[in-house]
């Protein structure tokens, strides 16, 4: 999402990179560009002003480190300030309170509260080993109760049966009854979904204030759309002044919005951005890492995210077995299939590539979904082989290849191309295992080793 801003700053700072010293003049030029880029990225006007001033002070007051070029130095400063502005370290959702811990979700209409409530329940179950209870207290929007109830059923999470007969019950009463029910059932977190509202709607905001007083939530979280424009500051201010927000969840971050809203929201409320919504499915919620996002803004990629993602699905033991096989040059198509399956678990190719430094720029406009298709073809090709063939690819003669092409719905040319790629990958892996070995090897293996 921050891609475009990253490219902009990159372009600007490349020019500075050519200079030998950071002078007031070339910093001014660079900062003017940074300012425009930030504004185009929807960072709020006032936030940009402060940001630029801070950068200027730091850049001029600091000695240029001997090991860095002036451009690198400026990138370092901009990066550090971005990280600071986004909240420094990653913050985990605080759940230390007497159960049931009440989480209240608030925000504008259409920011994604209900979907986020579902995602949050999944996160609480999977990542935090809690037993969440969902409470649909949006009694205004048609079918909002149905929506959360369906999501809860999909997740196998209990949900409060808010009356849904058109009687439009008082959300505070609903939420209170829901929390009591959560306690009765021994659920330790109660997630309360509320109706969307404008921060300037005095009466509806007063309703929320009353709700907050009545429920005493441990965490009041603002759900905000990453595509929000300049208004993000007013939204954050409006909700924060009346409800004192404990944290922010940034949704729809997977689009191509530059996401300046993130910077604005954080700097206005001082509340941490806890999560980022990265897709439509219920597992598409990730902890928000300010440091990583900042380096993504600067086009430095997000290697840490990738490694972490890879580690999550990559079984250490399997890696060791695989490594042994590689050493003996026994990397078969079965192993290839297995490795491919694991990489697929990490997410789509587009997601993965986005995390690699520089890759986005290199592959800008490349056909990611085409690559995704290619992946599926390869899976089909391997699946169309017999076990024997997978273990001994050298068996694959012309007629076998024809059969596989037919079975996988591809062509003999595609099968041949894939086998060639496989052999090359095998060769390369052998070289790697000869040179590296040990821990380093495992890391490498956890990345897709077969490009195309």
């Amino acid at each position: 999402m921050f891609e475009a801003l990253g490219e902009k700053l990159d372009g600007v700072l490349r020019r500075v990179r050519g200079h030998t010293r950071l002078t007031e003049k070339n910093i001014d030029e660079a900062l003017r560009e940074v300012r425009l880029a930030l504004l185009e990225a929807d960072v709020n006007f006032r936030v940009v002003k402060d940001f630029i001033e801070r950068i200027r002070t730091h850049a001029l007051g600091q000695d240029v480190l001997a090991s860095l070029s002036p451009g690198q130095q400026l990138i370092k400063i901009v990066n550090a300030e971005l990280v600071a502005l986004l909240g420094g370290e990653q913050t985990e959702l605080n759940l230390s309170a007497r159960p049931p811990v009440v989480i209240l979700l608030v925000g504008l209409n259409g920011s994604g509260k209900t979907t986020t409530a579902g995602k949050l329940a999944r996160y609480l179950t999977r990542e935090r080993k809690r037993t969440p209870y969902l409470i649909p207290a949006d009694t205004f929007r048609p079918a909002a109760i149905d929506q959360l109830t369906i999501l809860a059923q999909e997740l196998g999470v209990p949900v409060y049966p808010t009356p849904n007969d058109g009687s439009a019950p008082d959300p505070i009463v609903v939420a209170q009854a829901g929390i009591a029910e959560a306690q009765k059932r021994g659920c330790d977190v109660a997630v309360v979904d509320t109706a969307g509202r404008l921060q300037v709607d005095d009466e509806l905001m007063a309703d929320l204030e009353r709700m907050k007083t009545a429920l005493q939530p441990h965490q009041t979280l603002l759900v905000a759309d990453a595509m929000t424009g300049q208004e993000a500051v007013n939204v954050a201010q409006g909700f924060h002044q009346r409800l004192s927000i404990d944290g922010i969840i940034l949704t729809k971050i997977e689009g191509d919005a530059r996401g300046g809203a993130a910077l604005s929201l954080r700097s206005v409320t001082g509340a941490p951005i806890l999560f980022a919504g990265i897709g439509e499915k219920l597992d598409a919620l990730e902890p928000f890492h300010p440091d990583r996002i900042a380096s993504r803004i600067l086009g430095m990629g997000d290697v840490l995210s990738l490694v972490e993602k890879a580690e999550k699905v990559y079984d250490q033991q399997q890696a060791e077995v695989l490594e042994k096989k590689l050493r003996k040059n026994q990397f078969t198509l079965e192993d290839f299939q297995e490795q491919m399956r694991m990489v697929r678990q990490m997410g789509s190719i587009t997601d993965l590539v986005g995390l690699l430094p520089g890759a986005k720029k290199m592959l800008k406009g490349a056909d990611m979904e085409g690559a995704e298709k290619e992946f599926k073809h390869i899976e089909a090709i391997i699946s169309s082989m017999t076990k024997e063939e997978r273990r001994k690819p050298e068996l694959l003669n012309g007629s076998r290849r024809k059969r596989i092409a037919k079975g996988s719905g591809t062509s003999v040319v595609a099968v041949n191309r894939f086998l060639k790629q496989y052999l090359e990958a095998k060769k390369m892996m052998r070289r790697l295992s000869g040179a590296g070995g040990g821990k380093k090897m495992k890391k490498r293996l956890s990345l897709p080793a077969w490009g195309h």
């Binding site: 079918a143 929506q147 005095d202 979904e369």
Partner: protein, 338 residues
């Protein structure tokens, strides 16, 4: 009993630091003009700021005004590029002029510039109005306000005496079908729907067929929200578009993109990508009420030539107007006539 649903609560006016505007306290039922003015209150207050400031400071310089104005336009999401263009033109227009009545001249110039931005997007809607059924496809990103906008548009069309059929084409999001069904029930309209998870093109096919068979005037097709960056979902939308065209020649007669007025510069990217999939005939600018935003509509109009056709000015069903640059500009700049 149905009425209760539409009226969340009687609204009090948002209090803002700016001086109150008389008509915002007008009790219901309110006129169209008042609805416009109420929906644009905050944007109007924002745009007035540089003028107020300059008269107070007895105008040190024009440049101070332009710099204030630049800030204001950018804060209204007009975008850096468009804002700078507007200011350049204002500056050029003022050069050589005496400073007498400067504020008034600037004001009317700004009015003219903004109107011309809006009018650049204006174009006659293609296809004849008498197409029957008139098929309207509604698209947009998640949470833009598609379903609510459809309900408001349907209510409006029904009031005009048209027969309207709703098609629940969002089979993806949980309870989206229920949401549209509830609206259909409240509005007393027929709806074609399938089960959740069904292929959307199938329900759209059935919907368009049913509309032809029943001889309804207008078909409103809801679709699942999709971020424009998801190529596969955009392909799905193209397929829906093709299916409609196969069933009714020349259809869909309108493809409306719902844009949340709070969206920043990403709205341009959204409009561009949807536009690349099939021609958009217009934009529904949703959630325009309550705050100083929606400037991006100016940018979309001027840069993409897609006109804003409807505007959502509040949460109530009737807070939905056919967009007109005149009404918009009048509501932003002019004092109420009373």
């Amino acid at each position: 009993m149905a009425l209760r649903f539409w009226q969340r609560k009687k609204k009090t006016q948002p209090d803002s630091a700016s001086p109150p505007v008389a008509d915002t306290r007008t009790p219901a039922p309110i006129t169209k003009d008042a609805r416009w003015r109420r929906g644009l209150t905050r944007l109007r207050d924002l745009l007035r700021r540089p003028f107020d400031a300059s008269s107070e400071q007895s105008r040190q310089s024009r440049e101070a005004f332009f710099s204030d104005l630049e800030e204001v336009l950018i804060q209204a999401d007009v975008g850096v590029e468009t804002s700078l263009q507007v200011i350049d033109r204002l500056r050029a227009g003022m050069s050589g002029k005496s400073s007498q009545d400067e504020a008034e001249a600037l004001r009317s110039d700004l009015k003219r510039e903004l109107r011309s931005l809006l009018e650049r997007g204006e174009q006659p809607v293609e296809g004849s109005d008498d197409a029957c059924p008139r098929v309207i496809l509604v698209v947009g990103v998640n949470g833009a306000g598609k379903t609510t906008s459809i309900a408001k548009l349907a209510a409006r069309l029904k009031k005009e005496g048209k027969t309207v059929l709703l098609v629940a084409g969002d089979t993806f999001r949980a309870a989206a079908i229920e949401q549209l069904s509830i609206w259909a029930e409240r509005l007393g309209l027929e709806i074609i729907k399938h089960r959740a998870g069904a292929p959307p093109s199938a329900v759209v096919f059935d919907g368009v067929r049913a509309a032809v068979a029943r001889g309804v005037d207008v078909v409103l097709i809801d679709t699942a929200g999709r971020l424009h960056t998801k190529t596969s979902l955009m392909e799905e939308l193209k397929k829906i578009h093709r299916v409609i065209g196969r069933e009714v020649a020349g259809a869909p007669h309108e493809v409306l993109l719902v844009l949340d007025a709070g969206t920043g510069q990403n709205a341009l990217s959204q409009a561009r990508t949807f536009q690349a999939a099939f021609p958009l005939t217009g934009v529904i600018l949703s959630k325009m009420d309550g705050s100083a935003k929606g400037g991006v509509a100016l940018a979309v109009g001027s840069q993409l030539g897609v006109p804003i056709q409807y505007i959502g000015l509040g949460e109530q069903l009737e807070d939905f107007e056919v967009f007109s640059p005149d009404d918009f500009i009048t509501a932003l700049f002019d004092q109420p006539t009373e």
